[in-house]
């Protein structure tokens, strides 16, 4: 425990001194912005004039079989993207999973019927026990997904990490807003696109993104602005050609997500005068066909402090299905019987073709 704390401090100092990782913003917490508080985000969303409420529309939303065990290892990240729903950044060593919780998570993964372990953050690779978690999950026969920001792979401390992941058949689920520079840099910081391309080349060289199911490279795109994600299948065709012709890069599949109106994206929507129109757009694009594929139905989301949520977005808003729900008391059968918590931000997942951690849902 003590040792992990010291390593975290070292890590935070490293990231603070890192001049290579581009940054588009600063965390809300660092700026002491009012929207750093989940209650303030919910208040702002609740104050908007909307013609429908999510709960009334999605009355039949109920949990399904647990398939994905998603673990948020903490908010520390080498980047500070403008749209981040986690309010992650290099200053966020305050919110990192401690050793005791990591041990509890490993026990629960071993006991769980979920087939997939989905590691997210922040940048999950920065957590001192990232590799322990990957090995435990693989040892338990789970498919492992690493939600990767790409640039983290270029940090000197992560030299060799791509080969390590490849040897363990970890799927890399990499964020890349767009296959061209302008929208990627606008959202994630100047120079991110060029560094992302370098990271993708390293992944390709290690055998990722070439149709081998043991080295699957999934790209995740989200819009650089106040509009919905593009149609996934058409975008995938365009990206495949664009990345191959322009950069000699290949990948296995593309997920297109919508941006959730929470945290830093919520702040940007408000500051840019787009908030009301964006929420109206989400409500108008409500698609009942997207409900069946929503991630909250088949996912458990574990927060850095061990608390349990329906999804990573509810986690950030601290909307827990039961105030006491914690990994130390996790009971999979009881979890299946819970009521999923919803609020206005949920319109982000049901707009258009739907949006989930696994891409479009309908």
């Amino acid at each position: 425990m003590r040792q992990a704390v010291i390593r975290l401090e070292e890590l935070a100092a490293d990231l603070a001194a890192d001049r290579a990782s581009p940054r588009a913003a600063q965390s809300l917490r660092r700026r002491a912005a009012p929207l750093a508080a989940p209650a303030e985000q919910l208040r702002l969303l609740g104050s908007l004039p909307l013609r429908a409420e999510f709960g009334a529309l999605a009355e039949g939303l109920a949990p399904a079989q647990l398939e994905i065990f998603q673990v948020n290892l903490g908010k520390l990240c080498n980047m500070t993207c403008r749209h981040c729903h986690v309010d992650a950044g290099p200053d966020r060593s305050d919110a990192m999973m401690d050793d005791a919780t990591v041990d509890l998570v490993i026990q629960s993964i071993r006991a769980s019927g979920a087939h997939t372990v989905d590691l997210t953050g922040g940048a999950p690779e920065l957590h001192p026990r990232f590799k322990d978690l990957v090995q435990a999950a693989r040892g338990a026969g789970k498919h492992v997904m690493d939600r990767c920001n790409l640039t983290v792979l270029l940090l000197p401390r992560n030299a060799g990490l791509v080969d390590w992941l490849a040897e363990r058949q970890v799927e890399v689920v990499a964020s890349l807003p767009h296959w061209r520079r302008p929208n990627t840099d606008a959202q994630r910081g100047d120079g991110v696109f060029e560094r992302s391309v370098r990271a993708l080349r390293i992944l390709n060289a290690a055998g990722y993104g070439k149709g081998d199911p043991r080295r699957r490279l999934t790209l995740v795109s989200n819009p650089a602005g106040a509009f919905l994600g593009a149609a996934q299948a058409a975008a995938e065709r365009e990206w495949r050609e664009g990345l191959r012709k322009g950069f000699g890069i290949s990948f296995d599949r593309l997920f297109v997500l919508n941006n959730m109106p929470i945290s830093r994206f919520l702040e940007w929507l408000q500051a840019s005068g787009n908030l009301e129109a964006y929420m109206e757009r989400l409500v108008n694009a409500y698609n009942p066909g997207a409900i069946a594929g929503l991630m909250c139905r088949n996912t458990l989301s574990v927060g850095w402090d061990g608390r349990l949520y329906d999804c990573d977005f509810n986690q950030m808003l601290e909307l827990s299905p039961a105030a006491s729900a914690h990994i130390r008391d996790f009971d999979e059968a009881a979890w299946r019987r819970r009521d999923i918590v919803t609020a206005r931000h949920c319109f982000g997942c049901t707009a258009g073709a739907g949006s989930s951690c696994g891409g479009q849902t309908s």
């Binding site: 795109s221 819009p223 919905l228 149609a231 365009e238």
Partner: protein, 110 residues
């Protein structure tokens, strides 16, 4: 009418032919079919629409197809190039009429 163009017109456009619903339906069915994925992608069609919108200088169409292009993942550099295509054709169209001027001037001049 205090102004000729109102943003609300765009949202209300589907009701434009309420007084003649059958023709309206024919138009909007046709319109939808034109923009569907076909031999050209929906994205290519949106970029063509954006360029044409600038040629016909329709503020409603510019608003609609800027949004539509962004939603289809088109960035500002690509949209700007599309507008320049419209500009080049407009400018080129004026300039190529200069051939008429030259022909007439040459015929009448010494």
């Amino acid at each position: 009418m205090e102004t000729y163009f109102k943003p609300q017109h765009l949202a209300d456009f589907p009701r434009v032919s309420d007084a003649s619903p059958e023709l309206g339906k024919k138009f909007f069915d046709y319109y939808g079919a034109v923009f569907a994925e076909g031999a050209l992608t929906a994205r290519e069609k949106s970029l063509i629409a954006l360029a044409v919108a600038h040629t016909v200088q329709c503020p409603y169409c510019i608003d609609a197809y800027t949004q539509d292009c962004q939603q289809k993942g088109v960035d500002l550099e690509q949209m700007t190039e599309a507008v320049h295509v419209a500009v080049a054709i407009r400018g080129g169209s004026s300039l190529v009429h200069g051939m008429q001027m030259r022909e007439q001037a040459k015929k009448a001049g010494m």
